[in-house]
Symmetry: C2
Subunit: 344 residues, 2 copies
């Protein structure tokens, strides 16, 4: 009791101090395994992720989650879930190790079905939205991204700003474009539909950007991602133009390749992957610690715990990074106060 600082009313304070001092001098460390066996709390969270290997995004999310976990005294068990059956196997394994909760990360913000087997456990979804709206999730503020990026271009003197979007109906496409338009309107600038295009990730895309280049002569570009940004660089190079001198670009991504090699003007907006991981883990752990342990749980079949509280979605604002240094960043937990239509 003294070691756990639960001495009040049981052990006199001086003795408790002496006990702690002695324990410390002997190098005593409690054994978390034995403790968990007794308490059925492991101070452990399970992280389910896809595409750890192929994108840098997952790494950032993981890193953020791990930092939060370690700050709060938790360990993170990692499982990657590329493939279908894989997911259930991973969840099973994590349950056997008695993780206190689950972090479930997708790589691109999108609607997702949360596995049934997670529904009655503390779970937070990262970079994805629960179709059924039953599980709390942490996603980027896509509109804020479009808004900030476009404002940044305006502030740097751009007058004709093109938007190079995605042709596939991605979840982020609409709010980013809205943010772009909102920033233009905010500065009394006209919205010119000819300056907005959506392109796929292939040959015709380069042609489309080429046409835009020649017919509209924009002096700045806000690009949906690094593939789109690349088209702009390529078009500029072929015309003897130099990005940063003859035009400005802001591309969304955290592949740093493009930003590294050019002068200050090209700017990338980093999606807040680290932050999503960080705040997601904090959220999860607070859920865990608030959640009263259900004593009626069957140790073998692991009977369900009571359903989760209604989730309040968390959106995290983007970080705007120019040549490696953060220009602006705000992390805040927002409710639905904006009266925004649900993101689609």
């Amino acid at each position: 009791m003294s070691l756990n600082h639960r001495e009040s009313g049981h052990v006199n304070k001086e003795l408790a101090e002496r006990i702690r001092a002695t324990a410390k001098s002997m190098g005593y460390r409690p054994n978390p395994l034995a403790r968990s066996l007794r308490t059925s709390r492991t101070s452990t969270i399970g992280f389910l992720s896809e595409q750890i290997a192929t994108t840098p995004y997952a790494g950032a999310i993981i890193s953020g989650a791990q930092d939060a976990a370690s700050e709060l005294g938790y360990m993170m068990l990692l499982v990657n879930t590329d493939g279908e059956t894989n997911v259930e196997r991973g969840i099973e394994a994590l349950k056997r190790y008695e993780v206190d909760g689950f972090l479930c990360a997708k790589v691109y913000n999108r609607l997702t079905r949360v596995p049934e087997s997670l529904l009655r456990r503390p779970t937070v979804l990262l970079d994805a939205i629960d179709e059924a709206g039953r599980v709390p999730c942490v996603i980027p503020d896509e509109r804020g991204i479009g808004y900030d990026a476009t404002n940044h271009l305006i502030a740097s003197g751009a007058r004709r700003i093109a938007y190079i979007g995605s042709s596939k109906g991605m979840l982020a496409e609409r709010p980013r474009r809205e943010g772009y338009e909102q920033a233009l309107r905010g500065h009394g600038m006209e919205i010119d539909p000819d300056l907005e295009i959506g392109v796929a990730n292939n040959g015709p895309a380069l042609e489309a950007v080429s046409r835009l280049f020649d017919e509209q002569r924009p002096d700045a570009f806000f690009c949906f991602n690094d593939a789109r940004t690349w088209y702009v660089y390529e078009c500029a190079a072929r015309r003897g133009l130099r990005v940063g001198r003859d035009s400005s670009v802001v591309g969304v991504d955290n592949h740093r390749v493009l930003a590294e090699t050019f002068d200050p003007k090209p700017t990338t907006v980093e999606l807040p992957h680290y932050e999503m991981g960080y705040w997601g883990a904090r959220r999860l752990i607070s859920m865990i610690e608030e959640h009263p342990l259900d004593e009626t749980i069957d140790p073998h079949t692991r009977a369900p715990i009571p359903p989760l509280d209604a989730p309040s979605p968390v959106r995290i604002h983007c970080t705007l990074v120019e040549n490696g240094s953060v220009i602006g960043m705000h992390c805040e937990e927002k409710g639905e106060e904006e009266g925004d239509a649900p993101i689609r």
Copy 2:
């Protein structure tokens, strides 16, 4: 005993079968925590990594390690270790959770000091070499990378192949260049020092590549990494040349950006990060399972276990990827049979 298939000489076989069948029908799963408490084996490995957030490499290593671990029935505890004190704190935490061994990943192949606190535990170093040569490590076969990449260029018809290397003395620089030269010699081609340059990652680099472009007129390039590859693309674009038509490029990296947007010729050599993780974890786990548990270990102070066997280094060959599909890949455990000087 039946459940653990240790029935021989104790329980008659049919009974053992019946026991297992019944257990299965009841949905029984052993509790790993209780088991560990008794056996002091957790079937758990700790993964120490740096730069999870900032590079895609760490993700690939982690993913490989996790796959191997899960194949062999192990869970992976993740800790990232950016910063100095961080490392020791992470190791301490992992030790408290009684991980059976440690995977210690750096992000660029280089000489490293292994923390003292790991020396007497099962440990494998990933993408790094132990300064003192006491801990086994898994590293890419850098010479093979240079050799294969250059052969690929030769096979595609190139005659004057430039090598755009690194000016900083990176561990990989020398063997990659050796592989490049070895491939040239293997085809009876002359080695032209004017075709080999080392550049840093900055402005003068682009000028150096420009000079090489104009003075030597190479028809192909083997580039140390994606930054160097970028210089080649930029130089080509400014001269109205097209990589893939007027010249060929092979760059080392697994940023896919460059390879995605062009036609088949540009090829990237992926460093075998996934494989290093995979084989490193297998190696570690075999060390763990061969290692007789020292019964004299003090449960509190965690007295040292006997020193590791002399490590035999493992090198893993690269994977050669062209436009997303693997051209060649060999993973093999090599000893020192090549009589090669130790990598510096």
